[in-house]
Amino acid sequence: MPILGADMTAGTLIAWRKQAGDQVRRGEIIAEVETDKGLIDIEVFATGVLERIVVRPGQTVPTGTVLAMIREEAPVVVAPVTAGVAPTVAVPEAPAAAPTPAPERMRVSPLARKLAAELGVDLATLRGTGAGGAITREDVEQAAAAKPAAPARPRVDVARMRRIIGAAMTRSKREVPHYYLAQTIDMGRALDWLRAENLKLPVTERLLYGVLLIKAVALALGEVPELNAVWQGDQVVQSEAVHVGVAISLRGGGLVAPALHDVQRRALGDLMRALRDLAQRARTGGLRSSELSDPTITVTSLGEQGVETVFGIVYPPQVAIVGFGKIVERPWSVQGAVVSRPLVTATLSADHRVSDGHRGGLFLAAVDHRLQEPERL
């Protein structure tokens, strides 16, 4: 049971998407787990054969518990534990599933195979109607149409989530010596550039300004990399990759901050598609385990709620959180003249064990600098 955030202590295995004997590929989703953050898709971190399922659907087990065994070259456990927290590996007593025999070689057209993967149709359950009994595209489509609708994903228990968030934030305020900085940033150039870009793009590709903020933060971390890190035991471990946890409020209450991966290396259009997908899955179910365990810094924006300044609380084991408020038109001095400009307040809350106000100030200045050159984001 992976640790999907410092506040998670246990999870309930809801369903396996693979069976004993199945081939699994690294990154593939093999199980669904219910946590205080909702239903999470568990990815596998090794390629091999799912040799033995250990935890059965319906079982609630502590984080660190082995869910299943995968035979690579040497047996490995599913879902390694998030860095920074020592696992308590416990294998509960559960009957081992008998490995299913390897299916007989099926004749499947490439198109049917691709479609089956997309539609979640198990080819082994089909009888082909094509030449020589081959499974055709039509067979797959018919099977997909006949599948019962997926059950509605369970709704998040908001009261439980609030308790968990409260515990994590209490720990943060108790253990993390915060410091707070704020900087006003002129968003005029960024918004002008965004408007012009969006005129050229179809609705499916258009950008929201939030993606500019996230990318600017990721690039600025290149100049102050100690903020892109996790606190482990009694030391900081910097991350080369920038996995930005994006704070997403859930309708009806609650909050999650799943990761956008490798933000510093991705183009804005790619990030925007990923962000749209992430927000949608955060609110309707289907976040992946790596998205909850990987963030190396968090970005939160409360501008849409009218908030002007965000005073964030660091989410352990991360060491910094960046906040953005509402963009407001205000008088601003530009080359000696007072003009009306769209301004946003960017804030940094960070762990004093890892950085200080000087470095934090350089970071916010770097974010400002990046947003003055939006074409380079």
Binding site: A152, R155, R195, N198, L199, P202, V203, T204, R206, L208, G210, S249, R251, G252, L275, R276, A279, Q280, R283, T284, E304
Partner: protein, 82 residues
């Protein structure tokens, strides 16, 4: 496409974005943001969904014209390709 068919499509797209919403209670003249707690990301996803379902590309400048159910229907009714 009739107004009723467009209205049904808008509601279906809303249902995809906010599956927890009771679509039967959506008020035609109240902004989605206020009654369904949608944010800018959700609203963009609604417009993308309408584009996919109806083939209408909606310029960014027109976003303010699509804030309610009735406004969406009014906007789309003359623009949906035959």
């Amino acid at each position: 496409m009739t107004r009723d068919a467009i209205r049904a499509t808008v509601l279906r797209v809303l249902g995809d974005i906010a599956p927890e919403a009771d679509l039967a209670t959506v008020k035609a003249d109240v902004p989605f943001r206020d009654q369904l707690d949608l944010d800018s990301m959700d609203l963009l996803n609604v417009l993308v969904g309408l584009h996919s379902a109806l083939g209408v590309d909606i310029p960014e400048a027109d976003y303010p014209k699509l804030t309610t159910l009735e406004a969406c229907v009014d906007y789309l009714v003359g623009r949906v390709p035959a």
